[in-house]
């Protein structure tokens, strides 16, 4: 990035900004200063428009007065033509910032007799330049001279001299030219004389939708974008896309926004989506995409933020009525000015035209949340390769503004999940979060399911939820996983009832078991008491026996002692008597 700015700060070639959105990005700063640029294209492709904007913006925004020499329209016509685009030429003319000069040449009035040159044109142009101090010149289109002047030999020589002269005077000039037949850039070969910078404009109609394209064919001494870029003539003049060139440098706020559906917030890591992120809601017809979009917008309004809803399928009144049926009342927010619904037919304009319309509306309204319902209608009959860059520009633009976006998308895929995913591969990689809505048909009914296919930077749920739309609003409920499929709708309710009664049974069973346990414990305790008592009795018995034994032993000993004494005494007495005897 810093390298880029350095490169712009020291350009190889001095450049004059055109002020035309996008063109200065492509050319790296504008048209070559002090040199003529050839702008060519077929009729009605916007040559005069581009030239006019170059002059008007030069005078009004860059302080470079300009001379507009027209050969086809007169001043009044041109002023009227560009007034509708918001350019006030009259004022600039009055302020001497712009000079309009109509060069009218009528072949039938002119007779050629001998030698001549175009000094008159030089004098006129020179006088015009001097009178307002012009820095920019437009010749629109000098080719008219070829029709007016019969001697092309003189004319070519004089044109060569004219462009040289413009260069010498340091005029940044635009010379317009009609596209020639075949590969010729211009009908009269003007590119031979003006070779510093060539821009071609093109107007193509594919699938009944017209798209204008611009290409910088040549830019001597400067790098430039070589692609064809779509451009539009909008309410504010020409816009060349990329409006915000393809950069990836937007900020990433960590603030979360709730989606308005609390269970969905839970599924998205508990707090909803990041501010400034893009959410894709895809699904088959009737899966509730618009409802999610509307809920999201309503949630933003509830927070006091502005929301913008682009509807390409229903009218504004129809949306309000339909959303009311599921408990989302949008009308009060519209009255408060927090919500705007822009309904239009997608086929009304080309994709780029829609994009620019979207830009303008977003810039004017400055919403926090934008809902586009659905983007798939915008991409009707267009190849992915064409749609993707355009959507990328749109998403980039909205991200730069830190606007949270919800895009709904109608999937054309069949009932299988992979088909639904495949059909969105083109745009899904641009999205930060992707909610997939699906219909599950089972048991004689069709139910909606939702899951979060991806959500960058959040710990999102991997679970499928049933998505219920009722007059109470949007709800997400858990689905039941059966043997081979998720159960939704009445099957889910039946399953829930079944599980409820089973739980009841189990609970009663537990209580019974507890009661049994309690009584068993009582029995055991009684038994323990009985055994204790038995033990105690036994102990007493034993103690008694021991005491009895001890006593008897003692008695025996005493007796024997006594007896001994008695016998001993007798013996001693006997001995004694024996001795005496």
């Amino acid at each position: 990035m810093s390298k880029d700015t350095n490169a712009h700060a020291t350009p190889v070639l001095p450049k004059s900004p055109t002020g035309i959105t996008g063109l200065d990005e492509i050319t790296g700063g504008g048209l070559p200063t002090g040199r003529p640029t050839l702008v060519c294209g077929s009729a009605g492709c916007g040559k005069t428009m581009l030239a006019t904007e170059f002059i008007v913006r030069g005078a009004a925004e860059f302080g470079e007065p300009g001379v507009f020499l027209m050969f086809e329209e007169n001043a009044a016509e041109l002023t009227a033509n560009v007034r509708s685009l918001g350019f006030d030429l009259e004022r600039l003319v009055k302020e001497k910032k712009v000079l309009l000069d109509h060069v009218h040449i009528e072949r039938s009035e002119i007779e050629e007799t001998g030698e001549y040159d175009l000094e008159g044109l030089f004098i006129r142009l020179g006088h015009a330049i001097d009178s307002i101090g012009a820095k920019r010149v437009v010749l629109d289109t000098v080719e008219a001279l070829f029709a007016g002047l019969p001697n092309h030999g003189i004319l070519r020589a004089e044109l060569r001299r004219l462009f040289r002269w413009l260069k010498d005077r340091g005029m940044t000039a635009i010379i317009t030219g009609e596209k020639g037949d075949g590969n010729a850039i211009t009908r009269y070969g003007l590119e031979e004389y003006v070779a510093d910078c060539v821009i071609t404009l093109d107007h193509r109609v594919t699938e009944q939708i017209s798209t204008r394209r611009l290409r910088v064919l040549k830019y001597r001494g400067s790098a430039h974008g070589t692609n064809e870029y779509p451009f539009l003539i909008g309410e504010r003049g020409i816009s060349v896309l990329p409006i915000t060139s393809l950069r990836l440098d937007h900020a990433a706020p960590s603030e979360r926004l709730c989606t308005g559906i609390s269970r969905l917030d839970e599924m998205l890591g508990g707090q909803g989506v990041f501010r400034g992120s893009s959410v894709l809601v895809s699904g088959a017809p009737g899966t509730g995409k618009s409802s999610i979009g509307a809920k999201f917008a309503e949630a933003a309004c509830r927070r006091g933020e502005r929301a913008l809803l682009f509807a390409y399928e229903e009218s504004s009144a129809q949306i309000v009525r339909n959303m009311r049926s599921i408990g989302i009342d949008l009308a009060p927010w519209m009255e408060k000015g927090l919500l705007q619904i822009h309904a239009s037919r997608p086929t009304l304009q080309g994709l780029e035209q829609h994009l620019v319309g979207l830009h303008d509306t977003v810039k004017a309204f400055r919403p926090a949340v934008v809902v586009v319902d659905p983007i798939s209608n915008l991409t009707l009959d267009r190849s992915d390769a064409e749609v993707k860059p355009t959507l990328m520009r749109l998403i980039d633009f909205l991200k730069q503004q830190q606007i949270t976006t919800v895009f709904t998308s109608l999937t054309t895929g069949g009932s299988t999940a992979s088909a639904a995913e495949d059909s969105q591969v083109g745009v899904s990689s641009l999205m930060d979060a992707w909610l997939l809505l699906r219909n599950v048909e089972f048991n004689g009914e069709r139910n909606r399911t939702l899951y979060v296919l991806k959500a960058r930077g959040t710990a999102h749920s991997n679970q499928v939820r049933e998505f219920v739309l009722s007059d109470a609003g949007i709800a997400l409920v858990d689905v039941y996983l059966g043997a081979d499929r998720v159960l939704t709708g009445t099957a889910r309710v039946a399953q829930a009832a079944h599980e409820h009664s089973a739980a009841e049974l189990r609970r009663e069973d537990h209580e019974r078991k507890l009661r049994q346990l309690a009584s068993k414990r009582k029995v055991i305790e009684a038994q323990i008491a009985a055994l204790n008592a038995e033990g105690e009795a036994e102990e007493a018995e034993v103690k008694f026996a021991i005491a009895h034994e001890t006593l008897r032993e003692e008695t025996t000993q005493q007796n024997s002692a006594d007896m001994g004494q008695l016998r001993g005494g007798e013996t001693t007495a006997n001995k004694a008597t024996k001795g005496k005897r």
Partner: protein, 97 residues
């Protein structure tokens, strides 16, 4: 058939004293004297001195002779060396000598 008496108001635009300018002025005077004696008025405008006058008559090529009267306006570009074509351009019946 004689020329109907009418006034020719002619204006010749030139740029400075170039060879073409001088030739054009000389040629014009000669042709007018020959064919329109007494019926013409010539005004020579040097655009290098009064460039603001170029836009009024839609002058691009120089020299240009403009027949302002009689209507309609006619323009003859070049140094007027082709007398026959000048007369055709001015819609003047040549005087037979």
């Amino acid at each position: 058939m004689s020329t109907i008496a009418m006034n020719y108001e002619l204006r010749l635009y030139v740029a400075g004293q170039t060879a073409k300018s001088i030739a054009a002025v000389a040629n014009l005077k000669r042709i007018c004297e020959t064919h329109l004696a007494g019926q013409y008025r010539i005004e020579v405008i040097d655009l290098t001195k009064t460039p603001q006058l170029a836009a009024g008559d839609q002058i691009l090529a120089l020299p240009t002779l403009v027949r302002r009267l009689p209507e309609p306006i006619k323009k003859i570009i070049g140094d007027l060396s082709d007398e026959e074509r000048v007369l055709v351009g001015l819609d003047v019946q040549p005087v037979k000598e």
